[in-house]
């Protein structure tokens, strides 16, 4: 029988720096045979970095990894697979244009280049999927599968590599409740079969539910390691966060009388096609009034990007109408929508919200290049005026920039986000659409951004906030709704429904289930 104290993996003193900042700082981690270890930590605590090092996607700057007591060097995923390490990635590592069968066949190719033996592989897939209770649809192109099924392919793929250590990076982020239950039962069976599992998560309930031991990371360091059944949720939360309050900025209680207020943004029954015509927004409506913050919660990839792109004039609306301040903006150019007063903080702050190789001034200007304010004779750019605006925004928004010629791509995420927010708010918008404005930022920056959003509200603008952080939505919104599979739930006040009811909506359950 298995000896539970038999250490299979040991990572010692792992450090990894990005641009001189430590993402992992002297991390030690031990995993025993047949054990489920949870890596718990907030966004940016260094969990994924550590696992990407284990899987050979990153090279550690420092430290060593040993398997079965022998020091190994892992320079690429090839090495990791050969050592029996399998990984289920947060963003699935599947070839979208292949079907599930081809994906699995590819994953077992190893050094072989010859004939693919269809029959043998198909039988093996069948055997494995029955053994571990996985449901696999073989002949559909992966990009057409629902995420839950894609994940099953991802897991089966990892198992096929005859792995002994299975790493799962935030596996439940994209799953609904039923899919999650199924995943957990599969994991328990794998454990029983002797696999060691490393489970990365920032969700406390899941960690308590599935793991034998919890290793807690904070700011790139291991802060604690506890046996799961000797701890509880509050204890873990405290250790993970290292402070008491997550969101200190709260919207004060306000009374709403919708009839008194102007509607600044009105979306009426719109329909939007997504990339490759897959995810679509179906019959979506919402209304935002002056001084109101409308929050949309939901799991990533349920139509949020398509919705905001349609609002900003970057994606075609096939049906329905959008009104800004009473004027129709459906399918107008992004330039005229902007001029009519819709400001937009896009989700991708580095490749869309800013241009990395431009200076701060240029980054302010590229979103205003048509405005007459910064234009001199002969179509020249009024660099002086631009510089003055830059100075003002740097001061007002506390943007930490060492010198004015520095390229924005070299700033930290928080400062980049401040640049975007400063630029968008400085245009005096009627409505601000902000998507994931605080994702991956540190607490200080989050608080700052929240404060600014609330200030903007009090000046009379409306805000549409889209985020996957439920806490953020609940603490800031006047009205909120949940988006799931391209459909928006009925709007409600944050205190109207319980957390579990909202969770059910996010998992795609219909409204009646929440009543």
């Amino acid at each position: 029988m298995l000896n539970p104290a038999n250490t299979i993996l040991e990572m010692k003193g792992i450090s990894k720096f990005f641009d001189g900042k430590p993402a992992n700082d002297q991390i030690d981690l031990k995993v025993n045979e047949g054990e489920i270890v949870a890596l718990l930590g907030e966004n940016g605590a260094g969990k994924s970095t550590l696992m990407n090092i284990l899987f050979g996607l990153y090279q550690a700057d420092h430290g060593e990894i040993s398997i079965d007591g022998k020091v190994v060097s892992i320079n690429s995923p090839l090495d990791a697979i050969a050592l029996g390490i399998g990984m289920v990635h947060q963003h699935f590592m599947l070839i979208p244009a292949f079907d599930a069968y081809e994906n699995i066949a590819l994953s077992i190719s190893g050094k072989r280049n010859g004939l693919v033996n269809h029959q043998v592989i198909r039988e093996q897939i069948k055997k494995h999927s029955i053994q571990y209770n996985l449901s696999i649809v073989l002949d559909t192109i992966v990009q057409d599968l629902p995420v839950g099924l894609q994940q099953q392919v991802e897991i089966l793929k990892a198992l096929f590599g005859e792995c002994r250590i299975l790493v799962l990076d935030e596996p439940t982020g994209v799953l609904n409740e039923q899919e999650k239950i199924k995943l957990f039962s599969s994991l328990k069976e794998l454990k029983a079969a002797g696999l060691s599992i490393i489970f990365i998560s920032h969700k406390l309930d899941e960690v308590l539910d599935i793991s034998d031991r919890v290793v807690i990371l904070r700011k790139g360091k291991v802060v604690d390691s506890v046996i799961t059944n000797r701890t509880n949720k509050e204890d873990l939360a405290c250790r993970m966060v290292g402070r008491d309050v997550v969101f200190s900025v709260k919207k004060g209680p306000r009374l709403f009388d919708n009839k008194m207020k102007d509607r600044v943004l009105e979306i009426k029954n719109i329909e939007v096609h997504g990339k490759r015509n897959t995810q679509t927004i179906k019959d979506l409506s919402l209304t935002i009034h002056r001084g109101e913050l409308f929050g949309i919660a939901g799991v990533d990839g349920n139509g949020q990007s398509e919705l905001v792109e349609a609002l900003a004039g970057l994606r075609h609306v096939t049906k329905g109408k959008i009104f800004l301040n009473g004027n129709e903006i459906t399918n107008r150019s992004s330039r005229s929508i902007k001029q009519m007063g819709l400001a937009f903080v896009p989700e991708d702050r580095r490749s869309m919200g800013t241009i990395a190789s431009y200076s701060l001034d240029q980054n302010i200007f590229f979103r205003n290049s048509d405005s007459k304010t910064f234009r001199k004779h002969f179509g020249q750019i009024d660099k002086k005026k631009l510089h003055m605006l830059g100075d003002r925004l740097i001061k007002d928004y506390d943007i930490r920039i060492p010198h004015r010629d520095m390229l924005v791509g070299q700033l930290s995420g928080g400062n980049i986000q401040k640049v975007i927010l400063a630029r968008e708010i400085s245009s005096d918008p009627v409505v601000l659409v902000a998507m994931h404005p605080t994702r991956g930022l540190d607490v200080g920056a989050i608080e700052f951004i929240h404060t600014r959003l609330l200030e903007l509200l009090s000046s009379g603008a409306g805000i549409l906030l889209i985020s996957t952080e439920l806490d953020e939505i609940i603490s800031l919104s006047d009205q909120m709704a949940v988006i799931s599979n391209g459909k928006l739930s009925r709007p409600f006040r944050p205190d109207e429904l319980s957390l579990s009811q909202i969770g059910l909506l996010m998992g795609g359950s219909d409204e009646e289930a929440c009543r």
Binding site: M352, I355, F365, R367, S369, G379, D405
Partner: protein
């Protein structure tokens, strides 16, 4: 804040760096040409001496350099504008042909005061070249077709179209496939009588200044550059990405067409088959070499033309084929493209060997 004042440009490729890269690239080209010349059984030193002497042997050879570089600079300036939006204008030759033939038609058939002929010829040649280039740009912007392949096909179409025109409807009497000459009065005056260099070179200097101004000072130039940096961000920024991308290719084509007009009015006075000796390709190479900067394009074109004139005159003395210019040119550009990456790889490998604390500093 003050402590940062002194390392203002720390994060951009420094001037020294680009000088080092250029020097390495030139060194590479020299090494390759030495190998080539040695394998011919010639003495590299004396060949180089011949080249330099040949290029600067007298006033007319120096003016010849100017004449040769004129069309290349104009096309190269156009290439740099297309490159701003991420387009590669390999269609310079076809656009040049179209500009040349339409300018020639104006020159031959329009009976009007000189100034009007000139202005009409300029407008028509820009339009003809612009349409030729804009078509490739339009297809790229609307249906995402490779503008490189289209432009090259358009080169051949223009080539054969010219071939047809100069040997059929527009052929001058005498049986040679060429058009009639434009009247002497509309020909551009020579810089010095008897040489090939003409006043077109003055246009070139003004044009380069103009391109520099547009790309560095104006909103229009900024918008073009933004598209090239990130089309996604530019669209978010409210810039008309498709329209401006097509415009940039239209301008590039217009420049090449204008170069055709200048060559017809300044050098050949007529259109004949083979009037362009792959100016378009040379211009692209030089524009890459100059990293799309106007001054660099002028200097690069002058250097390559010097080399061509030198090698041409040397050929009489020593047996080194003129195609060595093409080889040298491509080796230099190849090295310029590859050298920074090789050096970065090398530096990266070195840095990896340092312990982490020291690495942060470097």
């Amino acid at each position: 804040m003050k402590q940062f004042l002194f390392k203002k440009r720390e994060n951009r490729p420094s001037f020294l760096d680009s000088v080092a890269n250029t020097c390495l690239a030139i060194a590479m080209a020299i090494i390759v040409s030495i190998i080539f010349i040695l394998s011919l059984g010639e003495n590299p030193i004396s060949v180089f001496e011949f080249i330099i002497r040949g290029a600067f042997r007298n006033t007319s050879s120096v003016l010849e350099i100017l004449a040769k570089s004129t069309p290349i600079i104009i096309i190269g300036l156009g290439v740099s504008i297309a490159a701003a939006t991420g387009m590669t204008n390999l269609g310079g030759d076809g656009q040049f042909y179209m500009g040349a033939i339409s300018a020639a038609i104006i020159g031959i058939y329009l009976e009007a005061p000189v100034w009007i002929v000139w202005i009409a010829a300029i407008c028509v040649s820009i339009l003809a070249g612009g349409i030729w280039g804009g078509f490739a740009g339009f297809l790229r912007a609307t249906i995402d077709t490779s503008e490189v392949i289209i432009a090259i096909m358009m080169n051949y179409i223009a080539l054969f179209l010219i071939g047809f025109l100069v040997s059929n409807p527009l052929q001058a009497p005498g049986g040679i496939p060429q058009t009639r000459a434009i009247p002497q009065i509309v020909q551009l005056p020579k810089l010095i009588a008897g040489s090939r260099a003409h006043w077109g070179i003055v246009f070139v200097a003004l044009l380069a200044l103009f391109v520099w101004f547009v790309m560095n000072r104006t909103v229009f130039g900024f918008q073009l550059l933004t598209i090239g940096k990130s089309a996604k961000a530019a669209q978010y920024g409210g810039i008309a990405v498709k329209k401006l991308s097509v415009t940039s290719m239209f301008i590039a084509g217009g420049f090449a067409g204008f170069a055709g007009m200048i060559e017809v009015f300044g050098t050949y006075y007529r259109v004949l088959e083979g009037i362009s000796s792959s100016f378009g390709f040379t211009a692209v190479m030089i524009a890459i070499l100059a990293r799309y900067r106007p001054l660099g394009i002028i200097v690069g074109s002058l250097l390559i033309s010097t080399l061509t004139v030198g090698v041409n005159s040397m050929q009489i003395a020593v047996n080194v084929p003129t195609s060595i210019v093409t080889v040298i040119q491509s080796v230099v550009v190849f090295s310029i493209l590859v050298m920074p990456k090789i050096r970065a790889n090398f530096q990266h490998a070195q840095r990896k060997r340092l312990p982490p604390d020291e690495r942060e500093e470097s």
